[in-house]
């Protein structure tokens, strides 16, 4: 019994040490490190796959997150070559501090209300009814900021009724979406692209707000590989893939430094 116990302890020690070492050597060289907004989680792998067909040997490491927190990490010195933000403000913020070499807006996405396919809610007015549970993003998250703008455009009593039905203000759009998926709420304010991903879900238009523009920026650390990728994402080869996912490509060549 004692010998077995000692053996087990040594084994655990070896495994732990190996895990620590392995994680320390996690970074590959030569891959383009991409920080991308969470809402790009489903479409980006397809785009990267298409890019890889044109440039064999290209390798990518992608990290997803809320645009705010990704920008903060870059600010603090995280290794990123390319930043795909769901919010122009984040790129601006980094550009002011000289973290961005070159930027371009590449797609836009609009805010919608997502409900179950067989839901009785047809317009935004339906959200004010009692018993309707709503999830949104917190005000300081891009999707939440957009939602606040949209609600501010509404009749004040409707906006108040809708606010009263809000049960949670989540830290990122994926969590917001999960509320509908899990059936915990009747309606969520998310992006049109999120609705495209789910089955049995219908989108209701939200008027009065501009579409959300995605801006990509090559960081001061990024090199040609990153710039080349960004050009691809903003170019016409990527258009079909974007549209299939519900985004609207902008094809605007602007913002070059």
């Amino acid at each position: 019994m004692n010998a077995a116990f000692r053996g087990l302890r040594s084994l655990l020690f070896v495994v732990a040490a190996a895990a620590v070492l392995a994680s320390a050597c996690g970074e590959g060289d030569g891959s383009v490190r991409v920080f991308a907004a969470s809402s790009l989680q489903d479409v980006l792998p397809k785009l990267l796959g298409a890019y890889a067909e044109t440039d064999e040997g290209a390798r990518f490491e992608v990290q997803y997150g809320g645009s705010q927190s990704l920008a903060t990490q870059i600010e603090l010195g995280a290794d990123a070559d390319l930043f795909l933000s769901a919010n122009a403000a984040q790129i601006e913020r980094l550009e002011v501090e000289d973290h961005i070499e070159w930027q371009i807006s590449f797609v836009s996405n609009c805010l919608v209300i997502a409900v179950d396919e067989d839901s009785s809610i047809a317009t935004i007015d339906g959200l004010g009814a009692s018993g309707v549970r709503i999830a949104l993003g917190a005000s300081d998250v891009p999707v939440g900021a957009l939602t606040d703008l949209a609600l501010a455009m509404l009749d004040p009593s409707l906006a108040e009724a809708i606010r009263a039905n809000v049960v949670t203000e989540d830290p990122n759009v994926r969590v917001v979406l999960s509320r509908l998926e899990l059936g915990e709420v009747e309606a969520v304010f998310v992006y049109s692209t999120d609705v495209a991903v789910l089955e049995d879900v219908r989108a209701i238009e939200v008027g009065g707000v501009e579409p959300n523009v995605y801006v990509g920026g090559v960081t001061s650390e990024g090199g040609d590989a990153a710039a080349s990728l960004l050009a691809f994402l903003a170019g016409h080869e990527a258009v079909p893939i974007w549209e299939a996912a519900g985004f609207e490509p902008l094809n605007v060549a602007v913002g070059a430094r």
């Binding site: 705010q68 927190s69 600010e75 917190a138 830290p171 969590v175 899990l182 059936g183 915990e184």
Partner: protein
Amino acid sequence: MPSRNQWWILLPALFGVFFLLPLLGLVWFGLTDGDVASELRSSNTWDALRLSVLTATMTLMLAIVLGTPLAYLLAASEAGWARLTATLLDLPLVLPPVVSGIALLTVFGRRGYLGDPLADAGIGLSFTTAAVVIAQLFVAAPYYVRAAYAGFAAMDPRFEGVAYTLGLSRWRTFRTVTLPLVWPALAGGAVLCWARALGELGATLLFAGSLPGRTQTMPLAILSAFESSAGLAGAVSIAVILVAFALVLMLLLHRATTPSGAYR
């Protein structure tokens, strides 16, 4: 004082420093780069803090009331089911908190197994303060039950036997003989449970949501601040307040639960 030859004492000392330095770094960062003062003035912060302390304490109360008899029964039983149950109770420790949150939803959520019965009874659990307590209980109670189970199991069962032959009822024996003997183990478990409940994030976010005043606990407030324009500095400022409060309350809890007097 350790003699010169006890060089190996360097190892635990370094380990202690490993824990201490990041905490000090955090506090320093918060006080210099952050704006702790303004966060202290923000009612949002106080709401979150009050909610955190309230829910964590409720979680601890429930863990003690429900978990102590469970731990006692598990320790007293020699049957196979006891071992199995004890192992199952450890599972929440392994699950990532978000997964625990989803697990709770599959049972208590509106589409969960108990969703309809609860709705019929007029009980809506998700997105309420009660849901915060339930989520915290799921992830933190195992710490208490483990410690209590170990405590009861380590006690010599003859003490209870002798007490019975002296005429003490089971309840009186538990109160006057068993509890004092296992008290240190229970206290240690209680501190762990409370601390874990206080720091819980993923399960409460998924199961209870995040709404200031109702379900936004301190960890969620910190996350929110991090994701916001206040960014890192804002998050750390709130974190510093949480650390300060937690430290004071844990010290008090420790004091209250450390056994006085020496008895073996």
